[in-house]
Structure formats: C-alpha cells, structure tokens
Amino acid sequence: MLIRNKDSWELSENEVTSESDYKSRREFIKAAGIVSVGATAGLLNPSLAMATLKTATGPYSGEDIRDELNDYNAITNYNNFYEFGINKDDPAKYSHTLVAKPWSVTVDGHCENPGTYGIEDLIDFNKLEERIYRMRCVEAWSMVIPWNGVPLSEVINKLKPTNRAKYVYFETLVDEKQMPGQRRNVIKWPYREGLRMDEAMHPLAMIAVGIYGEELLNQNGAPLRLVVPWKYGFKGVKSIVKISFVEDEPNTSWMRLAPHEYGFYANVNPEVSHPRWSQAKERRIGDFSRRRTLMFNGYGEQVAHLYSGMDLRKNF
C-alpha cells in the first residue's frame, strides 16, 4: 500500500469544489464589497458577472490559510504593476486599455514545440485548480490570494524543453497604447522574469488565470501570469506574451535596475534584508501590526531542497 503523508496544505485530490461551495464563494466576494466598490469606482468589469471559471480544489489549496484570505477589493485595488503607473491604485484606474482577449504567447528557445499559441492552447481551462497562497511583496507587505490556474509544469510539458534548457524566461506585453505606464522608462520594458528549470517544474509554481473563481482583472495581470509563492511578488510576471527556454540565467528586470538590491532567486528570506529595509517582518494587508516573515514564505518544507548547498546570502 502506498502511504503518503499529507501536508497541512494538502487535500485529497477528489475533494472537488461543490456547487454550494461555489455559491458561498460568490457570496463572499459580494460581501467583500466588489459590487458596490466596483460600481462606485467605475471599475466593474462587465464580463465579471459571467466570467466564473470552472475550478476544482487542487492538492495545494492551502486550507490552513483559507480564513486569512484577503478580500477581492484589496486584491484588485492595491497592485504593483508599473506598466500602468507606479502608484498602488494606478493599475486599477488605468488598466482598462489592456485588451486581454484574444491573447497569444510566443514560445521559443530550446524546446520541441516552439511557436505562437493562443491562451486556450497553453492552458487547459477544464483543469483549473484553486490554490490559496500567501503572496509576500518585497516591500514587506503580504496578502493571501485564492488563485485559479494550472501548474506551470503542465504548460512546460506541452512545450517539451530539450535538455539544453536550463532556465525559463518570461516577458510581459510591451504596448504603450495598452499600457500607458510604459510611456516612461521607469523600468526598461519589457518586464523580464525567469526561473531555474527545477524551480519552474516545482508543483507549487503556477500559471494563474483567475482569482476567486473570476477571470484575472487587467490590474492583476490578465489574462495569464506567473505565481511563485515562495518568492517575492515581483517574480510573478504578469500579462505574459513570451516564454523562452534558455541556457543562461536571464537578466531580470529588477536585477537590471538595482543588482545589489534584487537578485535572480528573490526567495522570501527574513534573514536577508533588502539594503534599504528589513525583511524580518511584514504587514499582512488588513492587519494593523507586522508579523514575522516566514522562510520561503512558509513553503520551506516543499522547496528548501531546491537550494541545498547554496549560500542564500549570496544568491538572494
């Protein structure tokens, strides 16, 4: 008999969200004020009412943090997405110009299936999972977000990287008409991110297409984005238009901008502080006082082995 220890965040695979759970989730969103706030702020996405994603509770559903979920209003109105401006409320205000449908992603580099894919060809919308993850921003705040999406490994397996592929590299869309923040070179566009191949294949890494069972809003990186819960939020590249399989470590956006402040790995680490502020503690959005930051954002049991033997002070 196969004996498997269940982690606290793991649910058995057949515990699929029932219709009534689903309703209650929608009630929750309503209670969180999305309807009234969206309407008053002119943010109500017309597709929102219809865009409920079919989603199952996957193996990484984070039951232990379900009651810490941030409300939809905070998740969709407090964002860092410099493509739409540098203030936290800019993405919600100025991202309506982004056309997330239809969407295609170019795949190149060391893989057997390069080409241009429609989003439906990369993501199996019938196999979406809900995963509740902590999100720790490098700026020392955090949220708990119920994502809907698929494991990144599933997408990568479709593309069949060859063994020369050591890293996966991602780019966000560049189009200053759709992304007005790109008129100024705050960052050298496009936004670039990447993962080592074993990080990318780790079951916790995901491509998200929704939040709270609703399609991603533009300010959250519609229509597809990366979510890597043990790393700082900026690794979660949004509105992805390009995936490349490469041999060398990609030079990512924040590394280019300030190499002594942001490294390639960007693993959440309370012991290695940002030069300008401490990373020992964080403020969970909605909380008043700070809480201690967890090593690997609380996912150490699952991911620490990826970095065994590495000096995390040097590889920050």
Binding site: W141, R184, R283, G286, F288, R290
Partner: protein
C-alpha cells in the same frame, strides 16, 4: 469701527493656517473613517499611504518655506512675516511622518528601528533632517528671534542643509521612479542658486561701501 477692526486684523494669517492645515485635516478625517471601518481613501495599506502622504507634504512645506524669501524679494509682496508659520507646518508634517513610523508602522519595535536608523543610510538622512528641524521649530517664536539676534539667522540657515538631507532621504527610499525627488532637487538648486547670488550681491555692495 468695523472698518477699523478689519484694517487692523490680519485676515491673511488664519487663511494661511487653514490652507496649511488642510492636508492634515483631510488625513485626520480619512483616518477616522479607517478607524470606524468605513470606506476611506488610504488604500488597502493605510500606514504606507500615511508615510507617503506625510513625507510628501513635509518636503513640499520645506520647499514652500524656502521659496517665500525669494518670492517676497521678486514680487514685493509682504509675505515674509508668514514664513515662520509655514515653516512650522513643515515641522508639523515631519512630526506626523515620524510618529507614524514609530507608532503605527513599527510600534516601538526598537530592534528594527535602531537597525533602520543606523544601518540604512536612507533612514539616517531622514532622521538627520528631522532632528535638525527640531531646534528650528523650538526657536521659531518671535521672542526667541529677538533673544537670539544674529545667531537666529545662522541657525535658521540650516534649513537649506536639512532640506538637502530630506530630499536625499526621499530619493534613496524610492524603488524605481526618482522623478519627483529629482524635481524637488531641481527646485532646491534654483533656490540655493538665488541665495548664493543674493549673498554675492550683498558682499559686493558692502565692499564698495568700505572703499568709499
């Protein structure tokens, strides 16, 4: 009689106080809404918002205070007598910024605060600017001005230096977009340039008088 009263009362002063206090009044109101769980405009992370808001108004009031002298000289408006009041608002917003940091943000977490102030140059510059503002605020009253005579001028000239420190603090704190601190730095350079020019002119006149 009423006419006489109006002529003698400086109605400009309360108006200036009201205008200078407006940001704080707005902030106080928003914080009250936040405290009462009502919809407010301080974002999902109010403490961060308050940091940016109070820091921003401190810099602005420092620059406004420094602008009053050249503006009075250039326009002949009689506004010098309000300069100390406006300067006090710079201190007031700096105090809010500092209290927000100490109380709301870090809640007297001395370990983190000490580390911040001594190990992080950006915070060191902010702390330096704030500390230098304190003696200026304390001596900003008329009787102190009279008592200190020439020394008052000397002390209050440090406003330029501390504003430089404040802008360095702001510049270093920014993650990517340094546009606003750069604009502030530009305004400050113009003000400093004007000051240097005035001093130069004064010295020239003085030396001329000595020759004659």
């Amino acid at each position: 009689m009423i006419n006489n009263f109006l002529a003698k009362t400086d109605w400009r002063r309360p108006v200036i106080h009201l205008i200078c206090a407006l940001p704080a009044i707005w902030l106080g109101h928003q914080m009250w809404l936040w405290y009462s769980f009502a919809p407010h405009q301080l974002s999902a992370n109010p403490i961060e918002y308050i940091t940016d808001f109070t820091g921003g108004w401190t810099v602005r009031f420092l620059l406004i205070t420094l602008t009053i002298t050249p503006l009075a000289k250039l326009t002949k408006w009689r506004m010098l007598k309000y300069r100390r009041a406006v300067g006090l608002y710079a201190f007031f917003y700096a105090l809010l910024h500092f209290l927000n940091y100490m109380v709301l943000d870090y809640f007297f977490d001395w370990e983190l605060i000490i580390e911040d102030i001594f190990k992080r140059p950006a915070i060191t510059f902010g702390m330096l600017a704030f500390t230098m503002l304190i003696p200026l605020a304390v001596t900003s009253f008329k009787f102190m001005m009279k008592k200190m005579g020439k020394n008052w001028q000397k002390l209050h000239q440090t406003l330029y230096t501390l504003t430089i420190f404040a802008i360095i603090h702001n510049y270093m704190m920014v993650k990517a977009d340094v546009l606003i601190p750069l604009i502030h730095a530009m305004i400050l350079s113009v003000l400093l340039g004007y000051r240097v020019y005035l001093n130069y002119k004064k010295r020239k006149i003085r030396s001329k008088n000595q020759i004659a």
